[in-house]
Symmetry: C2
Subunit: 201 residues, 2 copies
């Protein structure tokens, strides 16, 4: 198991451009099952998932997500270093294509089951989201973890209304998913030795 798992952890990379091929229902379900195996505070399992494959619903949520992304990006895109700016530009292209992405998965938190402490709350959803990305990757699918529609400044209220998400539930992430349009290389990260401290900072 070791080699394959470490390989998946090391090769998983954000995919922002997808084939139009639909994703098989069984693969989507396998991805959600893996997500729901993640740890959570006191095993509270506060997650809820809204899976969007209907083109009409996708194009409806696209509107607030694209609009809020556009107004956010306008303010700071020019100030970014070129490398980071390119990531954001590619990210913007993906939001524009929201209507054509095969699957969107909104990972949500039911506040009646989630802790109020931010660390406990978010540590009970983002490990599940990472499981989701890895289970997709292992099945040949590409994903991109985003917070479109997941914060007040990113159109969360409108997205919740479109999807019928109740008041006590908050959106924590919106994952784009589909078969990658092209093969991708492993991601580039700075060496972890630079951010590791042994026994004392």
């Amino acid at each position: 198991m070791e080699t394959e798992v470490l390989e998946a952890l090391h090769t998983l990379r954000s995919v922002r451009s997808f084939q139009s091929t639909p994703v098989e229902r069984e693969k989507i379900e396998a991805v959600l099952e893996a997500a729901a195996m993640a740890p959570s505070s006191g095993n509270s399992q506060p997650w809820e998932f809204v899976v969007v494959t209907d083109p009409e619903v996708k194009s409806r949520v696209r509107e607030p997500m694209l609009r809020t992304w556009g107004s956010m990006i306008r303010h700071f895109l020019r100030r970014l270093p070129e490398k980071t700016r390119r990531i954001y530009e590619e990210a913007g292209e993906m939001v524009k294509e929201t209507g054509e992405v095969p699957v969107l998965i909104f990972a949500c938190l039911d506040s009646s089951r989630a802790s109020r402490t931010p660390e406990a709350k978010y540590a009970s959803i983002y490990p599940a989201v990472q499981n989701l990305l890895l289970a997709a990757w292992a099945q040949g699918l590409g994903t991109c973890l985003t917070i479109h529609g997941s914060t007040p400044r990113r159109g969360e209220e409108e997205v919740k209304k479109i999807l019928g998400i109740p008041n006590n539930v908050e959106v924590a992430a919106c994952v784009y998913m589909g078969y990658p349009a092209r093969s991708v290389k492993p991601p580039r990260r700075k060496p972890v030795g630079e951010v590791t401290h042994w026994n004392r900072w």
Copy 2:
């Protein structure tokens, strides 16, 4: 890769009782390398890791973590349903044993590299933590994701002082790690179908 990765995602379980056998440095490094491959907002990689293996440092951080855990738990342990209470009691045993756990890894966020939006910030650390747990699991190690020493009410300030963590860095999680004292079964979770919504809540 698919079978092994899905197996790891489905079998990973919190381990709260460890052998005293030390963990090989190469395994700890492999775990951190996997953590640092996780996605982060705009590839900001805002993580820093403090790895504690020195028994003296472990016993020093134990004090504020155990004290704040004790005062927190006193208030609500009696009110919990039996099943949840048992999880918390076992969790309490682990905190008491902090000095003897082979490795503690404090996963931290450098606020100068992290987003201020809570979702973007925590979505840039807990996926890395989940990678860490999975890389450990794949190498035969057990882990437990906790927020001891990671919030103001959990002794964060004292833990930061003991470890020399600078002011601009916050602790997001404290992972306990070592070889499991006994074999564990896959975790129990409610069926994900109960929390999945297709196209609309």
